[in-house]
Structure formats: structure tokens, C-alpha cells
């Protein structure tokens, strides 16, 4: 019988922090500027420039550390990691090796196999590199330093995971914690969250770890899952063939579903770390830590518990609403205004998610205010508009955050409650549709539906369907 192997996985997760400015200079971190327009002497490595640390980076790093049950290193420093590459303007990256800001934490994950704890070895602060674009025409690389110096934290786990499923659960957990903190939007596909997978295999029951490889360029959960499966198989095949796994960095090619070694003889992997003499140590007092702790948000599990107790909404809704802090905040803020949890949830779970999906957006992109959603709910409650008009108004509100009251007023979308006018319209409809009247009177109850529809059409949708129904029945 073939040997049984166990997969051992540790993750290095880079998260781009949601600061306004870069880690060591006052340049914007905004996405999408023309090349090199968000740069200055510091983040382009100009001679004579010097770094100065962005305080907010430390705040976020401490918050993530507390959320992942880490010890905060109260006296921490920055080190230089030296390696030559064009996206690295100084040819050293400012990072933390000797005294990272957080150490020794853990997070709880849950998979089909149950709950488990994944250890966090450390979290350190560092700067991101610029972007390289290959220019086919000139056969060269072009360098854009807009991302150079964007703050990152790198979260290094212990080798505690054993399957792709656990890896995904761990990443989801981190994403949720960090997103709740507002420290990052953690989007794998946009690179604001990046995971490098360290993987080794060993015979089931073995005590020692096997030789591990590191895989980079994993931009989706799908890529991570495939890369883990592929690398596990590759390593097992090597071992079965009596060969050895080489400790190396491999790059995942998502299109080819294949990883290849990133080796080069010019790549000595000797980073000559030493304390950066241009930056002074960071001393994090107990007061500072407590201040950050006091500002920590209610995380998802707590929130779900509270929703179950406070709101009469289905468990499924609770799961979806709390999957994004943006959505949960919007839910709570709207409920605070209108006190209609069920209806607010319905709008968010239904129309809101539908439109987000259609437009390829996520909850962070929602523009309408809780006040406006509450107003819309109140308009439908008071039967000032009917449900199809409400959907129409919602769509406009979703796009432009219009005030639904004013919009309904301006566009004249209010339900006509003038019974005289309604009666008049219905009488006309009945006169124009003798066949349907006949059918109804002959016992075809369905015919009334057609007459309601005709009436609504004549009223341009601005009638209360219940009222139409009542009058119709009376007249018939």
C-alpha cells in the first residue's frame, strides 16, 4: 500500500494597510494614479532622502496584533533587508527582522473537521515595492514607484495548517478580523492581501518536518487551493522517486496551473539584515496598547451573537450581513434610524446584494446612506409608494444616494390615494375590457389580475394594488 503523507502548511500573508499615506513619506497610497505620480525623493530612493515613520501604520499593526492574540513588542525596530531589484528603489527594503512588532499569537478557525487554533509566529511592518511592467516593444521592464512605500504588515503563521481548506479558513478569518478593524480591505484579487504558501510533506506520523518550498503569486482562493494540491503532489512524487525536495521559492502560474522555481545564480538569498540607522526605535507604552485595545471593534462572532439575541432575522441573513463590516454597519445604522431589522435586512440581502453582484462591486462600495434606506422603508410602510416603485427608487438611490422622499416627490411617484380618481380610472378600465369583466363574472377569478394590471398601467404604477383590488371587486 502506498505511504500516507501529511501536508504541513504555514502562511506568510502580506496585507496592505489602509493608511492615506505611505509608510515613510507623505505620498498618497491611492490606487490608479498615472505612473510615478504618487512619488517623492523618499519612495524613489533619491540620494539624501530619509524615511520618517507613519504613526498610523503602528496603530494598525498593534490593532491586528491584539485581534490575533499576539504579544506586542514594546520596544521594536526596523531593519534593512538588502537585495537588488528594480522595483525596490533603495535596493533594500525597510522591514523588521530582529524585533517585529507582534509575536506569538493565534486565531481560531473552523472547518468541516471542527475548530482548531492556528499559531501566529509574528507580524512585522514593512514597505511595499513598486510595480514592474514588461515592455514587449523595447524588450525591457518599466518601473512605476506609486506602490513603493505603501505600508504592509506581514503575518507569519506557524506551520499549523494541514489542508487547503484550513488555509482558506485561516485567510478568511484574517480577512474578517482585519477588515473589521478597518486596517485593510484585504482583497486578494487586487493585491491588498497576498499569501505566500510554505508547504512541506512528511509521512503520516513522522515527527520531523520535511523540506519546505515557498510559493508566491497566489491571487485567489482558487489559485491557493490548486497550488497547494499541485505542490503536495509534486513533493510526494519527488519523495516516492527517492529524490529530495529542494528548499526554494516557486512562482505559481495560474493560467498554466503550474509552479516553477524562481532560482537564479544572482539570487544569493542573503539579505544582510541590520538595524536601519535612519529610523529610531518605536517604544509602545502600556497606555498606547490600552488605547488601541479600547478602540477595537466588536468582531464578527460577537456581532453574530448579538444579532441573534437582538434581531428577529434568520441565521442565514446574520451570516451574510456580518460577512462584511460595511454591510453590518449599514444594517445597524439603518436599524438605529427606523427600528425595522427585518425590513432593513431584506433590502440589504435582496436588492443591495443583487445590485452589488450585477455591478461587480462589494459592500465597501455602497454609497447610499442609512438615513435614505430608512426613508425608503418608511415610504413603503406608509404605503406612500408601492413595492415596484420602491425597487425603482432604490436603484436610483443605490447609484446616486438620492433622498427617496424628495425623489418620489419630484418624480411624482407617490401612490394616488384619491379614491375618486382611482374609481374613475377603474371604471374606464372596466369599460375598455368587457371580455375580462365577463370572464370574472362567469367565475374566472384570475381575470381580476389582468384588470388590476391594466389599472396600474393606467395609473403609471402609482396606485396601491390593495386599494385597486378592493374597488374592482366592489364594482364588479
Amino acid at each position: 500500500m502506498a505511504k500516507q503523507y501529511e501536508t504541513v502548511i504555514g502562511l506568510e500573508v502580506h496585507v496592505e494597510l489602509a493608511t492615506r499615506t505611505k509608510i515613510f513619506c507623505g505620498c498618497s497610497t491611492a490606487f490608479g494614479g498615472a505612473p510615478n505620480t504618487h512619488t517623492c525623493p523618499v519612495c524613489t530612493g533619491m540620494p539624501g532622502s530619509l524615511p520618517v515613520l507613519n504613526r498610523q501604520v503602528v496603530n494598525y499593526a498593534i490593532a491586528v496584533g491584539l485581534a490575533t492574540n499576539c504579544s506586542i513588542t514594546q520596544y521594536c525596530k526596523f531593519d534593512r533587508k538588502n537585495y537588488f531589484y528594480p522595483d525596490n528603489p533603495q535596493n533594500y527594503q525597510i522591514s523588521q527582522l530582529y524585533l517585529p512588532i507582534c509575536t506569538n499569537g493565534r486565531v481560531e478557525i473552523e472547518t468541516q473537521d471542527g475548530k482548531k487554533s492556528v499559531g501566529i509566529h509574528e507580524i512585522h511592518m514593512e514597505e511595499d515595492a513598486g510595480k514592474l511592467i514588461h515592455d514587449e516593444w523595447e524588450d525591457c521592464s518599466l518601473v512605476d514607484y506609486n506602490r513603493s512605500g505603501v505600508p504592509l504588515i506581514e503575518i507569519v503563521s506557524e506551520p499549523d495548517m494541514r489542508s487547503a481548506e484550513e488555509v482558506i479558513a485561516y485567510l478568511e478569518k484574517l480577512r474578517m478580523l482585519i477588515q473589521y478593524l478597518g486596517a485593510s480591505d484585504c482583497k486578494l484579487n487586487e493585491g491588498s492581501m497576498r499569501a505566500d504558501v510554505n508547504l512541506s510533506v512528511r509521512e503520516a506520523g513522522a515527527k520531523e518536518f520535511g523540506t519546505r518550498t515557498e510559493m508566491k503569486n497566489l491571487n485567489s482562493f482558487r489559485a491557493i487551493t490548486h497550488a497547494i494540491e499541485g505542490e503536495r503532489e509534486r513533493q510526494i512524487e519527488l519523495l516516492e522517486a527517492g529524490q529530495q525536495v529542494i528548499q526554494e521559492t516557486r512562482r505559481w502560474d495560474d493560467a498554466k496551473e503550474y509552479s516553477y522555481a524562481m532560482r537564479s545564480k544572482e539570487d544569493a538569498q542573503d539579505y544582510r539584515y541590520f538595524p536601519d540607522p535612519d529610523l529610531v526605535p518605536v517604544y509602545i507604552s502600556d497606555e498606547w496598547i490600552e488605547e488601541i485595545r479600547a478602540g477595537l471593534p466588536e468582531f464578527r462572532e460577537e456581532k453574530m451573537r448579538r444579532y441573534r439575541e437582538s434581531f428577529d432575522i434568520p441565521e442565514y441573513d446574520i451570516g451574510i450581513l456580518t460577512d462584511s463590516k460595511h454591510l453590518a454597519d449599514l444594517f445597524e445604522e439603518t436599524v438605529a434610524v427606523c427600528n425595522q431589522p427585518k425590513k432593513v435586512s431584506n433590502w440589504l440581502m435582496g436588492e443591495t446584494l443583487r445590485l452589488l453582484r450585477e455591478r461587480n462591486m462589494d459592500a465597501g462600495d455602497i454609497r447610499f446612506s442609512p438615513d435614505n434606506l430608512a426613508k425608503l422603508i418608511s415610504l413603503t410602510d406608509s404605503r406612500a409608494i408601492n413595492s415596484s416603485v420602491a425597487k425603482e427608487v432604490f436603484e436610483v438611490m443605490f447609484e446616486e444616494n438620492v433622498d427617496p422622499e424628495r425623489y418620489v416627490e419630484e418624480k411624482g411617484l407617490k401612490t394616488v390615494n384619491d379614491e375618486g380618481a382611482l374609481r374613475e380610472t377603474i371604471e374606464k378600465v372596466l369599460a375598455q375590457n368587457p371580455q375580462s369583466v365577463e370572464d370574472y363574472r362567469n367565475g374566472k377569478e384570475k381575470a381580476i389580475g389582468f384588470l388590476v394590471g391594466q389599472t396600474m398601467k393606467a395609473m403609471k404604477g402609482k396606485a396601491d394594488p390593495a386599494a385597486v383590488n378592493g374597488i374592482l371587486k366592489e364594482l364588479l
Binding site: 540620494p47 515613520l53 538588502n82 542573503d270 544582510r272 540607522p277
Partner: protein, 495 residues
């Protein structure tokens, strides 16, 4: 105070102007006895006659300097420019960035580099009214003690052109000594201001680490580098330091100080001042002429009321290996950015990225720079970090402690700047280690972040200047200025 300037040629008017100190010139311009433009013209005329022998400058911005001098003069006349250096022509070491003016670090790798911003120290100088003439020669990337490692030719000592001016701020020291400017800025990582000042017979000052912003100083050894003045007398040094010292939010190692009114300390009075003379600074290798001159200066201070005492500083011989480990390590990293992609020299491409890096850097850097980069890369490399770099950081702590103990007893430490007077051109580079040993008295000061000043205290039999070094505890520049000013005054009075 007037000194005999370099050379005999030039107009009488020009000679008169050139004999002013910086502070004296500023006063004369303010009082209308001369103008910023006349002063600039005089300095440029001196540059015309002296440069072929001295080569103190890498870049002289003649037109820009004259334009700036004219603008300064107008502002002075309108009462808009009243700074202590208003209208005074100054030279700036070529490792300080100057917006729009080529900044080379005396290296081929930066031969066409024109910075977009000026160093904070240069901006402070301009705020005080000084007008930049140009950029002075230096050892490449400040690595050297002779200004012979420059890619733009060596600078010669104005006191005797067969000798080096010292280094690495040799161009700045020579320019001041030759009257090619009224003062200059230099940088001091292991003695690079004090030693050339001593060799050229001018006053050079290295402030407490963090006193002058390093923003815009192209780094050599970041934890050791400090910008300071080279000038004709102690008063000028105090005036200039007062102008360039500032707390700069752009330099994390910049220190906030409130005690920077250094000119207040210019008092010729050392009564009761405790001066320590480290015995370890007077051992083997010290030129007897230097020893005699330095001890004579100490005696003079003692006669004027100072309490002078010999003591053992200890660890002196460990300062050089500690320094070369730390400085080379930091330099190897600081100089990585010179890679042919963003600025500066780029070798003709061959064989891809890493070939380009290697060719650019091998062709762009000179031998001494490569030597230190190699050493620095080695001491930081895997397996050697603890044995070399970490060990050096520990010895650095011990050296600092030795100074702390000394300053518990003494106000000022007195000794030579260098073991000898200026060597002849070409004598030093053949044996790097021997050259490094010449830094023995200056280097520990940088490791401990201390302020120190080099003031002339005589000359040897060949007429080459001898420098006296005074060292104070961190942030005690005022004690230093008082001692140096007293030395200068008593020397002049007593001969």
C-alpha cells in the same frame, strides 16, 4: 580679524575683501562697506587664479552665484535679508544635495546627477543669507582621508600643493584656506571635517549627532555622518553652526535642541574649566612636532586658569576597527541605490539586469568605495553578522561609556586631530590600513556622537599646519566653543 590669504595675485580690493571672516564680511556688507556682489566677484577671481593648483571645487556655478549674490544684495538693501551670513559666499561639499546644481559625491556614478531638492543644511544656510558658489571636492562618497579618491582629480593643500589637504572634506578645507570662499560646509563621519581643517590650518567643527539635519546629505555611514562648518575662525564656526542647526521632521535622528545660541559661548575665559588629556592619544605614531604643539596649547590654557589633567580614556585602539565595521556595513547598504536605473551613470547594457548592475557599479565606483562596499557586505553576510557587525555595535557601546566616564570628570578633552601633518600626495592610498590608522583620534568621537572642533595650533618644520582637537560631551558645544575661542584668543595674544 584678518588673516593672510592664499596667493599674492589679484586686485587690492579683492584682497581686502577676501581677508574678511564670514561674520566680518556679513557685518561689512550690512554696513555698506562692501557688497555681496563684490564679495562674490572676489571669491570667483580667487577661484580663477587658485583652482589650477588647488582643485578645491568640482562645480562652480559662476553665473548662478553672481545672480544670487545680486539678489541677496538687493534684499539686504531693502532690509529683507538680515541673517548673520547675509551676502556671504559659501562653498558646499559635493555630498550635500543642491537643487538644480550637480551633486556628484566626487563619484563617476553620479557625474550627471542634478538633485531636485536641497539639503536641509543648505536651505538653512540660504535662510541665513549665505550664497552658494559651488560644490567642493572630496573623497569619493566621503571615503578617504586625503581627497585623492575623487573621480574629479585630487585637491591639493593650499599651504603646500605637494601635500594633500586631508579628507574627506578636503575641497571644503582647501577652499576656505585658499580664500576661494568665506566658509564651507563639510561632513564628518570619522574625522572628515576636523582632519582636513587641521591639515589646511582652518577651523572645522563636527556637531553632536542629530544637531544638523542629515536630510539631503548623501549618506556614507548614517549613524556616524554629521554636517558641520569649516571656517576661518572659531567665531565663524559658531555663527554658521547656529544657522544650520535645526530640528528637522524629515530626519528621524534629528534632535530637538533649545541651546543652539552658540555665539553666546564665545568668551575667552577658561578659569576653572576642567580639561582632560588622554594619555592614549600621545603614544606611538604621534609626530613629535604635533605632540609639542598640542601640549603647548594645553599649557597655554592651563596658564589662563584651566585645570588640565592627564587621564586614560581607554579603548582608543578599538575605535578604528569598530568604525570600519559599522561604517562599511552601513555604506554597503546606503550605496546600493546607485544601480543605473533611477539616476546617475549606467553602463552600456550587456547580458541583462544583473550584468547591468554589476557593470554600472564596477565602472561607476572607485577602488576605495568598492573596497568598503565589499567589506561591509561581508560583515553583514550570513554567518558573520554576529561576529563582526554585532560585536562592533557592542564595542561602540563600550566606547561611549568610556567617554561618559571621562565627561563625568572633564568639561573638555584635548588632543591632536591627527598623528601627523598633511602627508605628501600619493603617499597614502597604497596602504589603506595605514591610511585608516590616521583617523585614530577623530573616529571615536563619531562612534559616541560627540561634538568636536579642530583649531590651528601651530605648524611643523615644513610650515604645515597642526590641528588641536577639543572634544566635549554630547550637546555641550558651548563648552567646546568657549575652550576653542579661548585657545584662539590666547594664542594670538601670547603668540
Amino acid at each position: 580679524m584678518r588673516r593672510k590669504p592664499y596667493g599674492q595675485k589679484g586686485m587690492v580690493v579683492a584682497m581686502d575683501i577676501l581677508s574678511y571672516t564670514a561674520a566680518g564680511l556679513a557685518a561689512a556688507i550690512k554696513e555698506g562697506r562692501t557688497t555681496a556682489v563684490e564679495a562674490m566677484e572676489a571669491a570667483l577671481a580667487r577661484i580663477d587664479t587658485a583652482e589650477k593648483d588647488i582643485n578645491a571645487y568640482i562645480t562652480v556655478d559662476r553665473e548662478g552665484a553672481l545672480r544670487a549674490a545680486a539678489a541677496a544684495q538687493e534684499k539686504i538693501e531693502r532690509g529683507e535679508l538680515t541673517g548673520p551670513l547675509a551676502g556671504v559666499p559659501a562653498a558646499v561639499k559635493d555630498n550635500l544635495c543642491t537643487a538644480g546644481m550637480r551633486t556628484t559625491c566626487a563619484s563617476k556614478i553620479l557625474e550627471n546627477f542634478v538633485p531636485a531638492f536641497s539639503a536641509e543644511a543648505v536651505l538653512n544656510l540660504e535662510r541665513a543669507g549665505a550664497v552658494v558658489i559651488g560644490k567642493t571636492n572630496m573623497d569619493e562618497f566621503a571615503m578617504g582621508s586625503t581627497t585623492e579618491t575623487s573621480a574629479y582629480g585630487e585637491t591639493r593643500n593650499p599651504r603646500n600643493p605637494a601635500h594633500v589637504p586631508g579628507g574627506s572634506s578636503g575641497g571644503s578645507a582647501a577652499a576656505v584656506a585658499a580664500g576661494e570662499c568665506f566658509f564651507a560646509l563639510g561632513s564628518d563621519t570619522g574625522g572628515s571635517i576636523r582632519q582636513p581643517a587641521g591639515f589646511c590650518g582652518v577651523v572645522g567643527m563636527k556637531p553632536t549627532y542629530g544637531t544638523v539635519s542629515r536630510y539631503g546629505l548623501i549618506a556614507y555611514g548614517s549613524s556616524l555622518d554629521q554636517i558641520g562648518p569649516l571656517a576661518r575662525d572659531v567665531t565663524d564656526c559658531a555663527v554658521i553652526l547656529e544657522a544650520i542647526a535645526s530640528h528637522d521632521g524629515k530626519d528621524s535622528t534629528s534632535v530637538e535642541r533649545t541651546d543652539t545660541h552658540f555665539t553666546e559661548a564665545l568668551v575667552a575665559d577658561v578659569k576653572g574649566m576642567k580639561i582632560g588629556i588622554p594619555r592614549d592619544y600621545f603614544g606611538e605614531g604621534l609626530d613629535p612636532a604635533v605632540k609639542d604643539a598640542v601640549l603647548a596649547a594645553a599649557k597655554r590654557l592651563e596658564r589662563n586658569g584651566a585645570v588640565v589633567e592627564e587621564f586614560d580614556l581607554s579603548l582608543v585602539e578599538y575605535a578604528i576597527p569598530t568604525y570600519y565595521t559599522i561604517a562599511a556595513a552601513e555604506a554597503s547598504s546606503n550605496l546600493e541605490r546607485f544601480d543605473g536605473i533611477k539616476y546617475g551613470y549606467r553602463a552600456a547594457e550587456a547580458g541583462g539586469l544583473h550584468e547591468m548592475y554589476k557593470k554600472t557599479r564596477s565602472e561607476g565606483f572607485g577602488a576605495e568605495v568598492k573596497r568598503r562596499i565589499m567589506l561591509g557586505s561581508f560583515v553583514l553576510s550570513s554567518g558573520y553578522y554576529d561576529a563582526y557587525y554585532l560585536k562592533a555595535l557592542k564595542v561602540k557601546a563600550m566606547i561611549k561609556k568610556a567617554f561618559d566616564e571621562a565627561f563625568a570628570k572633564y568639561d573638555v578633552i584635548l588632543g591632536p586631530v591627527a598623528p601627523t601633518t598633511a602627508p605628501r600626495l600619493g603617499e597614502s592610498l597604497s596602504d589603506p590600513l595605514k591610511m585608516y590608522l590616521g583617523d585614530i583620534y577623530t573616529i571615536a568621537v563619531n562612534l559616541a556622537g560627540l561634538p568636536a572642533i579642530s583649531v590651528p595650533c601651530g605648524q611643523d618644520a615644513q610650515g604645515l599646519p597642526i590641528g588641536l582637537q577639543l572634544i566635549a560631551d554630547s550637546f555641550q558645544e558651548k563648552k567646546l566653543f568657549r575652550a576653542a575661542y579661548s585657545h584662539e584668543t590666547f594664542e594670538r595674544m601670547e603668540g
